[in-house]
Symmetry: C2
Subunit: 216 residues, 2 copies
């Protein structure tokens, strides 16, 4: 039994090392540009098939990275939802979209790779649906979207869908750009993740409340 336990611990450490190496490589170079073999090498695995053995396909590996961060993000969102229960302020609900991510990024310190990893994974034609579905169907996310739905202005379906896309793009790419600047030591418009969250929430409230021009 002790030896089975030891093997298991060793296996889960190997998984952690592979996940960290894959996240960084995907963030830097894009998901399509990096092979399982490169991930194995960067993770110091003598066996080039280590990634396949531990994770299966590249899609499985990408989902495993998403799931590595999900519990911390989910827990923050659940706590925020408990705090704003019944709120009729749009900014409270949009905060539940933005802050679990910015607070999670703040907790990772710099350099972090998660924001750039998500930016890359959601621009990959083969994987974007997988990643977006994974992160938009958790219980806390569904509760947030339901709460938002009650307060959002009523919009034509295509405008609603478009503004959802815009919200995701703005959160993902502003966080990725901030993460990149923090690592490079280049200037950022805001001094902290907390201030960046304030800016994103303000902007998204304005974006959702904007009047729309009907198109034929």
């Amino acid at each position: 039994m002790a030896s089975a336990k030891a093997r298991q611990t060793h296996g889960s450490e190997t998984r952690e090392v592979i996940l960290a190496a894959a996240e960084r490589l995907f963030a830097e170079q894009g998901v399509a540009a990096v092979s399982n073999r490169q991930v194995s090498e960067a993770a110091g695995q003598a066996n080039n098939f280590a990634v396949g053995y531990h994770f299966g396909t590249k899609g499985d590996l990408v989902l495993a990275i998403v799931r590595r961060h999900a519990p911390s993000i989910e827990q923050r969102r659940e706590e925020m939802l408990a705090e704003i229960k019944g709120s009729s302020e749009l900014c409270d609900w949009i905060g539940c979209l933005v802050r679990p991510i910015t607070e999670h990024l703040a907790s990772l310190g710099s350099p972090s790779w998660y924001a750039r990893f998500i930016a890359q994974a959601t621009t990959d034609p083969a994987l974007r649906q997988l990643v977006i579905a994974e992160s938009s169907t958790s219980a806390s996310m569904l509760e947030t979207l339901e709460g938002l739905g009650r307060l959002m202005p009523v919009l034509p379906a295509e405008v609603h869908e478009e503004r959802s896309d815009m919200s995701r793009q703005l959160i993902v790419h502003m966080c990725a750009e901030r993460e990149r600047a923090l690592q490079a030591g280049t200037p950022t418009p805001r001094a902290s993740w907390e201030a960046a969250a304030v800016g994103l929430v303000d902007a998204l409230v304005g974006l959702w409340r904007a009047p729309f021009t009907p198109t034929k």
Copy 2:
């Protein structure tokens, strides 16, 4: 003289073929992931140094791609500026940010690569400043920013800078996502580039007009 002329034509054709190959490769794989050698090969150049010979460094090549599209975008923006002269409608001026790009993309047909190329080039730590500076300092762009400046709400410097970043990110990444979906044949929220421009202008007007929360 005839032979010098022929050589020159041949040289400018080679340059065009290289620019087109580089734009597509950079759009698909990112600027850092693609070597000059791969560009030369994709452009069918027997000589692996063709890119270096015709363009110099990778930064020079990226700028040459930007400049290949710039005249069409600039000309559209100048025409729009002439039409809205003296307008006090924020949406007119934001239109001069958005529409020259969406109309240029519409004119390219599908598949186009320009939106994804710009998305990739502006996330490259080494090149982003170069590309952003190149496209934000043309005469028509400066006139647009000046016009916007007169109508935009007065905001603290960091909020103004942040919303400028947001505007660029929203335009670039929404266009890149649309371009990708058109090529893949997957659904897009809006039926045309024209309708996508309407949506972007509406959203950006809301984003800029949004009240801001002071941070300490």
